[in-house]
Symmetry: C2
Subunit: 327 residues, 2 copies
């Protein structure tokens, strides 16, 4: 059986899956990234995980497994044409020739790209975007990023740097962003941004059920999921944070829609788990600020395969690259 | 000699040019559109202009002229694949099968597209954008619109509706827009928008040299060029209007850059004639709001062939379509 390997490399975990050519994840394993061991150890781990998955799945299924190509989604700035990981802050990588190194080790066609692009590609082609030609995907996680898939092809822009939607400077936001700007969308509306806003309010003594769930010494454990839980109990702080984040996301998307005219917007990443708590204010803001011609046709949905989309997308991205290179 | 005909259809004039396959306009004529005579009369006029130009240029140059294909830039929503002018408010057209009708009359390959797209295509490929792969073009005229050219190809989006940058709703603007929204970028920052703001201020008695140039009964004659003239005399009203328009354009572009990552932004249309009066505040605002990685590489320029870009772009758009269809 021919499969594609899809690898999603994060600062905490590496997920490696075997994906059928129709986009189904047939086997998946997860390991700690262990960033401190350095880039070569991580690349070796990726190679070993692909081999391990192929052997384990062959044993489990009783059929021969052959990996046709490998797709890897990496954080940060990636140069897919040169196969170089230009800069990944949370991995500590800079100008790493990842494809060359892995190809020498695995003797397989290897393709890399930015992880948000491969994720959105997976969702656009094999998830919520199936059947749509013009998809804008946005991931709401530690940061906020985006990718455009148009007729089955990812949009890259100059130096492959399209998609930094999280760094749109929004009127009314003032917090500094690690990027050097102030008021970036992701300082408030990312999952981390929402948690940071909650912590700030809680420390300032704002009344909230979160004060009792997270006494001072446990405050650091607060997560975006806790905001959703508090929201469901009508907690005013959680509601105001999720609603403001949704509104800001909707506003930022209202700037994107006239430029690229998507038919479908997919909201993914950890933040998408908030579902309608985020999407209701998002849609309200978005639809109130776009031309009627857009409003009548544009759909906004959460990701379908949120957990697997990175692996599926990386693998299917490799399939697309491999097939177009061998035509 | 083989040439391409490029036609730029506006609400006031039709310009028809013959363009060499390297993008040089070799002959050009202009006629009044006469919208009131209806769509068939306008299409007949376009056909007659192409024939007239071919004959006149053959006589003038003494060489045989053969028109290979015709490209037409039309205002409003255009379906280039179906060859239908979906909606053009200032021509009064709705679902007009322009390509079919013209093909029957001229027996030539005809291609239509939105006029801003063909204009930006011309500038990106044969004007200020020569040598750049990722271009974002914006036209500042009666309205504001945009187009993205990526590796020589225009971006369309769902229902070919990408590019309505003028209808981004900007914080702090409140004027109603004919589109039904309030606070659209073009209500202030288009050439017409700037004039409208000036008229409002002048009628409210704001001090300006424009008060003496345009007494009440002549106020309607005020144009964007007059704002530039007054700006050069340090007129406070003209300065504040051009600077605010430039700032708003820069801010809107700061929303576009993270999404599509252009290497070059071309500012064209009548408003671009204001040059640095508009571009200085535009760049200041834009560069202060984008990631350092964009800031270091992004260039902003005015259009090179502002007058001819529509004709060149339409003709070269036809060349691209014709050549790719006959491959």
């Amino acid at each position: 059986m021919e499969v594609y390997a899809g690898v999603d490399v994060g600062g905490t975990n590496i997920v490696c899956g075997l994906v059928s050519s129709s986009g189904d994840v047939v086997y998946q394993i997860k390991r700690a990234t262990e960033v401190s061991k350095g880039p070569d150890a991580i690349l070796e781990k990726i190679a070993a995980m692909i081999e391990e998955a192929a052997v384990a799945y062959a044993e489990q299924s009783g059929v021969d497994i052959s990996v046709t190509a490998v797709g890897i989604g990496l954080p940060g700035f990636v140069d897919p044409e040169e196969g170089i990981a230009r800069f990944a802050g949370n991995l500590g990588w800079r100008n790493l020739p990842a494809v060359q190194k892995l190809q020498a080790r695995l003797n397989l066609p290897i393709y890399i790209d930015n992880d948000v692009r491969t994720y959105v590609y997976g969702e656009a082609m094999y998830g919520a975007g199936q059947g749509y030609k013009d998809v804008l995907g946005i991931t709401v996680g530690t940061g906020i990023a985006s990718a455009v898939v148009n007729e089955g092809k990812l949009f890259y822009g100059f130096r492959n740097m399209s998609g930094e939607l999280g760094h749109i400077v929004m009127e009314g936001l003032e917090d500094p962003c690690p990027c050097g700007l102030h008021g970036c969308l992701e300082t408030y509306a990312s999952a981390s941004g929402m948690v940071r806003q909650a912590l700030k309010a809680l420390r300032a003594g704002e009344p909230s059920i979160l004060q009792s769930w997270f006494p001072d010494d446990k405050l650091e454990k607060l997560s975006a999921a806790d905001l959703s839980r508090a929201y469901d109990l009508d907690d005013p702080l959680a509601k105001s944070i999720l609603e403001k984040a949704g509104t800001l996301l909707g506003r930022a998307l209202s700037y994107a829609v006239p430029l690229v005219s998507p038919e479908l917007i997919i909201v993914g990443g950890g933040g998408a788990l908030a579902g309608d708590r985020l999407l209701t204010p998002l849609k309200e803001e978005l639809y109130s600020r776009i031309l009627p011609d857009y409003r009548e046709h544009l759909k906004v949905v959460t990701a379908l395969n949120n957990d697997d989309a990175g692996v599926t997308g990386s693998a299917m991205y490799a399939k697309q690259k491999y097939c177009s290179s061998s035509m």
